[in-house]
């Protein structure tokens, strides 16, 4: 089952919604989340959720430098949706 999840992401020929993937593999959504997190821990998949959060925080504290309007952070921040993709074979 774990391999099916990894292969589904690796061999997808279009972007997938997590719910759609759950239906396609006939796996409960919460179980699918667990399996994805397993592959993320193994370094085979990358989960953007934490990185996206960091992007907003960095922008609020360092990125805008003098133009940041204070604790509200960036002039324009947007909550990024969570995305899971295949990890690059080796970091650049």
């Amino acid at each position: 089952m774990l391999w099916k999840v990894l292969h589904a992401v690796e061999e997808a020929n279009a972007p997938l919604d997590l719910n759609e993937l759950s239906r396609r593999l006939d796996v409960d959504r919460s179980v699918l989340d667990g399996m994805i997190q397993f592959w993320v821990r193994k370094g085979r998949l990358a989960d953007d959720a934490t990185v996206a959060g960091q992007a907003a925080v960095v922008c609020a504290t360092h990125g805008c430098r003098g133009s940041c309007p204070g604790p509200q952070g960036c002039p324009f921040t947007m909550k990024m949706p969570r995305m899971i993709s295949v990890s690059s074979p080796a970091p650049d």
């Binding site: 972007p15 919604d17 719910n19 996206a52 509200q72 993709s85």
Partner: protein, 579 residues
Amino acid sequence: MTVITRGPMQRPVYFAYGADIEEAIGLLSAAIQAAPLVAEAYDQRWLAIQLLEGDQSLREKVSLYPDAQPVVDALAVSRGRLQQLYGDDVDVALVDHRYEFVHRLVREAVVQTRGRYVSKSDKIDRIVTHPVFGIPIFLALMWVVFKVTIDLSAPFLDWIAGVLDGPITNWTVALLSVVGLGGSWVESLAVDGVIAGVGGVLVFVPVMAALYLVLAVLEDCGYLARAAMVMDRVMRKVGLQGKSFLPMVVGFGCSVPAIYATRTLESQRDRVLTGLLVPFMSCSARLPVYVLFAAIFFPQYASLAIFAMYLLGIAIAMIVGLLLNHTLFKSDEPSFFVMELPPYRLPMVRNVWRQMWNRTSSFLHNAWTIILVVSIVLWFLLAIPVRGATSSFADVPVDDSLFGALSSAIAPAFAPLGFGSWQASGSLLTGFVAKEVVIATMAQVYQVDLPAEAATPPTTFSEDIGFIATSFVQATVDTVKSIPLMIGINLFETEDAAKPTTLMQTVRVDFDQTSGGHGALAGLAFMVFVLLYTPCMVAVVAVKHELGTKWMWVSVLGQLAIAWLVAFIIFQGGKLLLG
């Protein structure tokens, strides 16, 4: 709908891994049992499984026991056997068995009372993220965004302009007269520098608020996240994935967080390529320039002209991306991704208001910091004489001022684009700091030398307050009237079009002169130049921070070259076509 039914307990459920794994667990468990100190500390089966899965910290703890050596030896033998079967993925095999077991258990215990459940969000997504219909729907929604933004905000734009030109200017002049500074250079600094500069930008606060309102609605209802899926096919043409489009969507608001958002991308190649393309997305700070120029040169088609700027930004980003993908950034087809799409929901008023307020207040903050400073610096540059023997500080024809001289030096570079006056060039020069400053500069350089307008009778304080209140009510009424007009329904009598302001008239005259009578083409070329050149200094710092100094220079110089080239093609090409 999933329903768990409760039935009689038939049999206890035991979980067993496959024969090969159970054999390895058995071998290791036996070794653990034979080591009394280890066996006393841990459950044998649990420990065997953890060690086979490769739990290093546990292995180190166990190896500290005096009788642990046989366990360590047995672990090496057991793992070695499993590695012959599963390679380096022994842990995957173990975890996979557990998931298989849970899945089988759920299958047996859970009864699906209905067929496969398809939510309302899924049904909407079948249309909205459809490979064919998705992109036209995305473009249509963008059109609605800019139509609503412009039409809703226009009456309030006139209201703020009226308040700044009337009561605020009157009160400032009166206050300075009371303290004995009437008619001095301080009055000129306050009225021609601060009020004209900062006020010229504050006029556009309703436009920004309306844009942020509509974007917040789209964001809160869950649509914006879908843009990445919709645009995936287009992004693939330039060697990127739809994921790269999300920083670009953020770029419609502000380039700075958009550049920082590129760090969500996995590969350095994608980060650099996306970071180079993000500044072509038209950020909200450019909107006031479009609104002003569209009102001057394309009053009947203002929304269309502004929408075209946003589309052009996307198109240029795609073309540049395509070129880079086939030259500097050659790579294999990027892989696809899985995305957690939030369910569609009705936007919450509190969320929408908070988003709109945060973004508008930061725009206001910019007006009171960067734009105020630039306006004051600009006023001094306009007040310092560098030519003309009779000129003195704050009493100098603008052409002879330091800013006039600096701007005149770069003006010839813009002559082939149709806007080679020092005023237009100077506005682009200060626009490097922030795009809002373009309007602030124009408000100062085009109005400094204007002849005094026909004197208006002096007003009292209470009359000014009355004017502010009544004109606000009128603006609100006009906004309400504009709502049915957006969908082509005219419920009210046609009113005269808004009168062009003095700034609009002088810009029109200047562009007509510098372009040889092709003012509209020059205006369009100016809008395109503003769209494509460096967004602001903070964005340059962000690119340096994220991509390094080399790419920062590539970004700045590349955007300047592309902006000049596209504006040149539009102006000169347009002239050829129009004859």
